[in-house]
């Protein structure tokens, strides 16, 4: 597969947007402006960007507790995200969901999810639904290495393969549950081998290489659209920060600083930037412009969130049920 220069640049733009958005969250969180739990995706941007670029607007994703990257890559508006993270009425969920529950049916975001492994069965249902409705929509389900030990993984993949559903299971293997290393949570190294149990293809890619991710997901999406069934794709990657903001010293209770530094050298964003420059896809200036534009968008989002109102007390009781 040949990725066009334009596409490569677009991938980069998405990755950078995720990175800068979350860099800003780090800062806002530290200053107490973002309440609750913020599980950051920094270091893993290539997965979301590469995967979602293989999707159409009307395709679906299910996301995780670490969902900012997925939803930005699927097209979520930063303003609405930021307002949600601030708990404001103008946010994606009117302030009711926060970081772990961002959803937008219009662009196929079936929700971030606070339950590890919770998204897989939902993705399977979106797949069944697309099949029943006779559309060729595809669903990508993101989940982590440790979530692959949950029963929902097993039940979900079995069901999807049994009915040849148009679902792509994207496992983000960042090598850790919260503090638990993969070696302590499963006796295997490549999660992709679990695909065999469900008679579906399993693929391992370098999750810090957006091109590899994008190619693997594109192939799986093609297969899914053609009615040939699901694929399991494992993306090897790493999270730079603690499990969530507030995890002391970026998780150095359970991993070495050295390990973190090693992985920072494999920075997927920088890596792509260097390639873009080396291959003369873009000029340095263009990259700087891009960054400036994104930063401006983020500032706009922060301003929007800041200026927005908190929901009023009565709203507590709204949206429990669909009325009428």
């Amino acid at each position: 597969m040949k990725i066009s220069k334009g596409k490569l640049f677009d991938l980069y733009a998405v990755m950078l947007k995720i990175r800068l958005f979350e860099d800003r969250i780090v800062d806002l969180y530290a200053r107490g402006l973002v309440p609750g739990l913020a599980h950051l995706y920094i270091g893993e941007e290539a997965v979301a960007a590469g995967a979602c670029a293989a999707l159409r607007d009307d395709d679906y994703i299910t996301s995780t507790h670490r969902g900012h990257g997925h939803v930005i890559a699927k097209g979520a508006e930063l303003k609405l995200m930021m307002a949600e993270l601030f708990g404001k009425k103008t946010g994606y969920c009117k302030g009711k969901g926060g970081s772990m529950h961002i959803a937008d049916m219009k662009i196929g975001i079936l929700g971030a999810n606070g339950i590890a492994g919770g998204g897989l069965p939902i993705a399977v249902g979106a797949g069944l639904s697309a099949k029943w409705r006779g559309t060729d929509q595809v669903t990508v389900s993101f989940f982590g290495d440790d979530a692959s030990n949950n029963g929902t993984f097993h039940e979900g993949l079995n069901f999807a393969s049994l009915h040849k559903l148009p679902v792509v299971f994207v496992c983000e293997n960042n090598q850790y549950g919260i503090s638990v290393h993969q070696k302590q949570h499963q006796p295997i190294t490549d999660i992709a081998i679990r695909a065999t149990s469900y008679d579906m293809p399993g693929v391992v890619v370098d999750g810090n290489d957006v091109i590899q991710v994008h190619e693997a997901v594109t192939k799986a999406v093609r297969r899914a659209r053609a009615g040939e069934g699901p694929t399991l794709i494992e993306c090897k990657t790493y999270r730079w920060r603690g499990h969530h903001e507030g995890d002391p010293n970026q998780g150095s209770r359970y991993r070495t600083k050295q390990e973190i530094e090693e992985w920072k050298k494999k920075d997927p964003v920088k890596r792509l930037a260097e390639k873009l420059l080396a291959d003369k896809v873009v000029t340095k200036k263009k990259l700087e412009e891009l960054e400036a534009n994104i930063l401006k968008e983020i500032e706009g989002a922060v301003a929007f969130a800041n200026e927005s109102k908190f929901p009023s007390q009565e709203e507590l009781y709204e949206d429990v049920y669909v009325e009428g």
Binding site: Y60, T62, G91, Y92, C93, K94, G95, K96, G97, H101, A103, D104, M105, L110, G111, N113, G114, I115, G118, L120, P121, I122, A123, V124, G125, A126, G127, L128, S129, A130, W132, R133, T139, G151, T152, H154, E155, G156, N158, F159, L162, E318, D319, V320, Y321, V322, G324
Partner: protein
Amino acid sequence: MREITYAQALNEALRECMKEDERVILLGEDIGKYGGIFQVTAGLLDEFGDKRVIDTPISEAAFVGASVGAALTGMRPVAEIMFIDFTTVCMDMIINQMAKMHYMFGGRGKVPMVLRTNIGAGRGAAAQHSQSFHALYVHIPGLLVAAPSTPYDAKGLLTEAIKNENPVIFVEHKKLYVEKGPVPEESYSIPFGKADIKREGKDLTIVATHALVLRSLRAAEEVAKEGIDVEIIDPRTLTPLDKDTILKSVEKTGRLLVADEGHKTCGVAAEISAIVAEEGIYSLRAPVQRVCSPDTPVPFSPPLEQSYIPDEKNLIPAIRRLMEYT
């Protein structure tokens, strides 16, 4: 009017809704060729094919979760869990996903699905196949909970459940499947949150659910011989609960007995009792009595199981006791 069984009434509701709306599909274990363990889905595979009547693996989390995903994306799934006991294996999909999405997402997205299941002891099936813990779902906001006691209510409430925009836990009762009653041939809905007065009376109110409605009716006939005139209120849906009808009846009778097959502690009967203690206490001229399953697992041995099941043997003495207060 012709009489059909509760199971047939449910079957009819499913058939009619499937005919009317092709987004309605069924998922569950052995609902196809087998027709469902209680024959509620009998004949539907033949009529609608295996794209709409799907026999699933023993993967309740997968297929209930898939129902959530399908509902979110435009379908109207009706999932069957063979016994309420087994809803424990997919509780996360029910409590954390199905019930909460609409709220968590701030109104974006809705989950119009039905999870059909059943409660009730009396079949010698012991502790893991006979439970009645529907109260767990009444405790969780975001779910609607239906509890039909007659074939008529079964058909009308299931039709409403399928058409409703919200997730519904549709709690049937095993011992009622074979009970017959009059049911209109045409399609009809019974609105949620409207209790039905199954018997009018002036001396004592029984709020009864599921099989306890039938058992209360029998108890009422029995005590009528002693001149006791019992009113029986069947809430029909537990969420929403029609508390006005209950409070009004208690205002009239001054005596309340709540009869539900769930365990007593923290059950549906506790809630109804607490509502009256909170909002209708001045109507009462006697303590509120509960007739429920005891706080023990369901035993296998038939004589033990009979003594476990709340019925006339518990209702009649409770009624008499309440009538001693004047």
